[in-house]
């Protein structure tokens, strides 16, 4: 009797869930409305594509230079984020810190992650000016939120008995982290850091739109002046670079996996 009542309860919950999802989709549909302006999308799209080709390759040198700035922003931001997020994650677990500190740090990590990287860029440009430094700080903050949360979840999910046992045998909190928790997250650290770096290269290309340096500034200028064939050059260049990076990082992850299994 109790089990059939339980099944009915879960069936009702499931139907409520479906109804909520369907209802959310229905009330979101008006977002597709283009406003009072009647636009022929296909014609507009074909017109834009026509303006893209052929791409103006004469701007490749300045695109390359702008991409190098993007690369610098993404690399530094990822490096700082990895270092700080390991520290924050380590300080957020039971065996290392008292609960007030743990709670505060977990709230900070959530807050960092909540603000999108573009908004961080807007804030930092307002604080430090339209320079690549604003981009580095903005992406560092956002990446810390993401990586910190990931490392913390990995630590939370790992078996804590080795840590408790080492603590019982007189190891300091730092040593507990170094010899019982760090070895478990090392492997996923590499994989997640690589992913974050790829993500930051893409993000660093966009935050230039709000003045935080890099390729985004080129895109913004070409868009403002209607130079769509130069805009296309930037996109193609960016596509080629990102594809190369993805293949490279996939190869690195595969080789790390093979090494670990030996």
């Amino acid at each position: 009797m109790a089990s059939s009542r339980g099944n009915l309860f879960y069936r009702i919950l499931r139907w409520i869930g479906f109804a909520l999802i369907f209802g959310s989709i229905l009330i979101s549909l008006p977002a597709l409305d283009g406003g009072t302006r009647e636009v022929d999308f296909i014609t507009q799209l074909l017109r834009l594509v026509d303006r893209f080709f052929p791409p103006d390759l004469s701007v490749l040198p300045e695109v390359g230079q702008a991409f190098f700035e993007t690369f610098q922003i993404a690399t530094l931001a990822t490096l700082f984020a990895v270092l700080f997020s390991i520290l924050l994650a380590a300080l957020s677990i039971d065996e290392i810190s008292p609960w007030p500190l743990r709670f505060t740090l977990r709230v900070v990590l959530s807050a960092l992650r909540t603000v999108p990287s573009l908004i961080w860029a807007v804030i930092l440009v307002a604080m430090v000016g339209p320079t690549p430094r604003a981009g580095v700080i903005a992406l560092t903050l956002y990446s810390m939120g993401y990586l910190g949360r990931f490392f913390l979840e990995t630590l939370d999910a790992s078996d804590r008995k080795p840590a408790q046992w080492l603590r019982q045998h007189g190891a300091s909190p730092f040593q507990v982290f170094q010899f019982s928790l760090w070895p478990n997250i090392k492997a996923s650290l590499q994989s997640q850091s690589l992913w974050m770096w790829e993500y930051n290269i893409r993000s660093a290309s966009i935050i230039g739109y709000v003045g935080a340096g890099g390729l985004g500034l080129q895109l913004h200028i070409y868009q403002e002046y209607g130079q769509w064939n130069r805009f296309a050059t930037v996109l193609l260049f960016f596509f080629a670079v990102v594809l190369t990076l993805e293949l490279l990082s996939a190869a690195i992850r595969r080789s790390a996996q093979i090494r670990r299994s030996k």
């Binding site: 078996d159 008995k161 080795p162 408790q164 046992w165 080492l166 019982q168 045998h169 007189g170 190891a171 300091s172 730092f174 040593q175 170094q178 010899f179 019982s180 928790l181 070895p183 478990n184 090392k186 492997a187």
Partner: protein, 208 residues
Amino acid sequence: MIELRRFQPVIGGKPLLTPLSVKIADGQFCVLTAASGAGKSRLLETLTQPNLPHLGAFTVSGACATVPQSLDFCPSLGALDTVCTSRLEAMSWRQSLFGFPESLQKEAEAQLDLFHFSPDREKPVGLLSGGERQRIALARLGLTSRTNWLLDEPVSQLDPESALACLSQLKRLAQERRAAVLCVLHHPQLAEALADHRLHWAGDWRTQ
């Protein structure tokens, strides 16, 4: 020195075993045997966590080094490093920041040799067999500065010959280090060969 005075562990308000009184001096090897599930592991656990409920009293002079049944090693750490972690309480975080000193690693190698650990010393502990992990646990005792050793079935995954050899080596080490050893074993034959004190529980504790 380990002294138990009418000591009984308690779980869920229910006392396990029966009151046990024994004094293990430094350098002595005391073995407890009983059927599975009687409460031997809980007895050892309570000696390292006095806040766990118990009846009676106990005194342990100094800190304890333990070898639990579960062998809670970090699975990704290498065998040699796992043995070296036995010395962490004597090292500051700066001293161990970039790994263990070569002298300590040599000592750890020597201990692994004593307990006939044959696999690659860099191999992660998670990839080792149960018997190999038990050898690592025993090798750790060779490096510890703690002089009270609580061992919960430390050789259960070794063949009888290897088990006897390892325990004999352990007893020699305990005598050299003047460590008091309280060891839970399943096999009375091993206890007979090694123990200074043997206590068997079958409804009540009997000295054998």
